[in-house]
Amino acid sequence: MNDNGQATILQVEQLNVYYDTFHAVRNVSFEVRAGEIFGLLGPNGAGKTSTLAAIEGLLQPRSGKIHVAGYDIAEKKKYARASMGVQLQATSFQPELLVPEIIQLYAGVYGVEMNKQKVDSILKEIELSSASSKRFGQLSGGQQQRVSLVIAMIHNPELVLLDEPTTGLDPQSRRQLWERMENMRSKKHGILVTTHSMEEAESVCDRIAIIDHGQIIAIDEPQRLIDLHRDDPKVISVSRRGRITLEDVFIGLTGKQIRS
């Protein structure tokens, strides 16, 4: 429990990730609460995916503590992993498998009961009923992304980690995903999402963290971040329409420079 009386689903404390000598994530700490959509924003190469990889247990951080649903990822990896649903930035499934077969595979891997009817209803939900006899490799990029997203939530996990989930989605699918995220939120799941879309961050995230060069430089509610930095000369100088947007704050704080 935290100050607001909400349970903490994900707790990251003083996380440091290195790739050999390169310090990719620097002293990152934040938490995601039950019933919260938390956005992780940052320029290319800021360390978002690396932070998620440490939470997923895919890489060994140099230091720091991570708890998922109360389980320490270093000590109770299996339990922590069973409590999270993951959509990786570069996920793929076996291109030879049909969509229903992928659903069956991951249902089995997470220990979820699955029958033909349930598979059909999942396909219907992501509007892929007509593609049920297609191999994963034959789907369009956005359709593949939809499969990947539904797999991330297949076992109704307490924590959902989504790495740029709306990249490549059409507006309809994007809205549908937002609704699904909000639906999970209302059921007290915690959702951690990375995005480059300021519109997305503003419209669905309850709180956001801005990360740059591996460091978190701001954490707050989107509107409060805007209010807080409204008078910052760096923010005002990049504003385009007189009105200060989250994008202005983001660029003001992280600089106009494109990342190598």
Partner: protein, 249 residues
């Protein structure tokens, strides 16, 4: 919400199902792997009288084992790693070894199919017939020998990340083994090379299969070849597993 950990046996069943389906959908390349040794058996019909049935059968099985380990297994691992398929599986609550174990079981079935195919083709086309005991022992030796090439494949995917480079490397090693192996055994390449080939993964595997086919033929050299085969598998596995990275970056 409660945390549910699926049982390892359920996980294995699910993984196996998916891996066998994948293998089935790739049946064109599977058939190629099976067909090459069978074609060699048939085309060597006239050599059976001179070289003997066990020589022909064991040679062809070894060719098949090389293809399974170096081409089938290795390339599929390299591809799936590059596509991020392993990473996605690994973030699920499954033991990492189960992911590889499932892949290996598929390859063991392939080994049995190649061995069966060669035995049948040898019987029907070349009229080679061996005692039942010989066939069963040769099955076991084929599995033991197949492990050498699977672990050698593991070394290659441990050393090389890029799937295209893996593919060209395995093809090169495959042809090197086949060519040097077959011609070296026949004595075409001279005595020294012949001696090296004899104790190479190719020669040792060929020997244990050949000698197990004829129950009376097993001698001290066969036992040494068996030990050498185990030794290669051990060394290759340790190196291959140690060097292996689950992601390609």
């Amino acid at each position: 919400m409660q945390t549910k950990i699926p049982s390892t046996s359920n996980v294995m069943t699910t993984l196996l199902r998916a891996d066998f389906i994948t293998q089935w959908r790739n049946r064109r390349s599977v058939i190629m792997v099976l067909l090459v040794p069978v074609i060699i058996v048939i085309s060597w019909k006239s050599l059976v009288a001179r070289l003997g049935g066990p020589f022909v059968l064991s040679n062809c099985i070894t060719v098949g084992l090389t293809a399974i380990g170096l081409m089938g297994y290795t390339n599929s691992i390299a591809r799936d790693r590059d596509k991020g398929i392993f990473q996605r599986l690994r973030v699920a609550p499954v033991p990492s070894w189960s992911i590889m174990m499932s892949r290996l079981v598929v390859q063991l079935v392939m080994i049995l199919l190649v061995t069966l195919g060669v035995f049948f083709a040898g019987y029907y086309f070349d009229k080679i017939s061996m005692p039942m005991q010989g066939y069963s022992l040769a099955f076991i030796c084929a599995l033991v020998g197949g492990a050498v090439y699977l672990s050698l494949g593991q070394v290659i995917v441990g050393l090389i990340q890029n799937p295209e480079t893996v593919s060209s490397t395995t093809r090169l090693v495959y042809f090197a083994f086949i060519m040097v192996g077959m011609f070296g055994e026949l004595g075409v390449l001279g005595k020294e090379i012949g001696e090296i080939v004899k104790w190479s993964p190719y020669g040792a595997v060929k020997r244990i299969i050949s000698d197990s086919l004829q129950p009376g033929a097993w001698n001290i050299h066969s036992s040494i070849a068996l030990l050498v085969t185990f030794g290669y598998t051990m060394i290759f596995s340790v190196l291959g597993i140690n060097w292996f990275k689950w992601n390609s970056r």
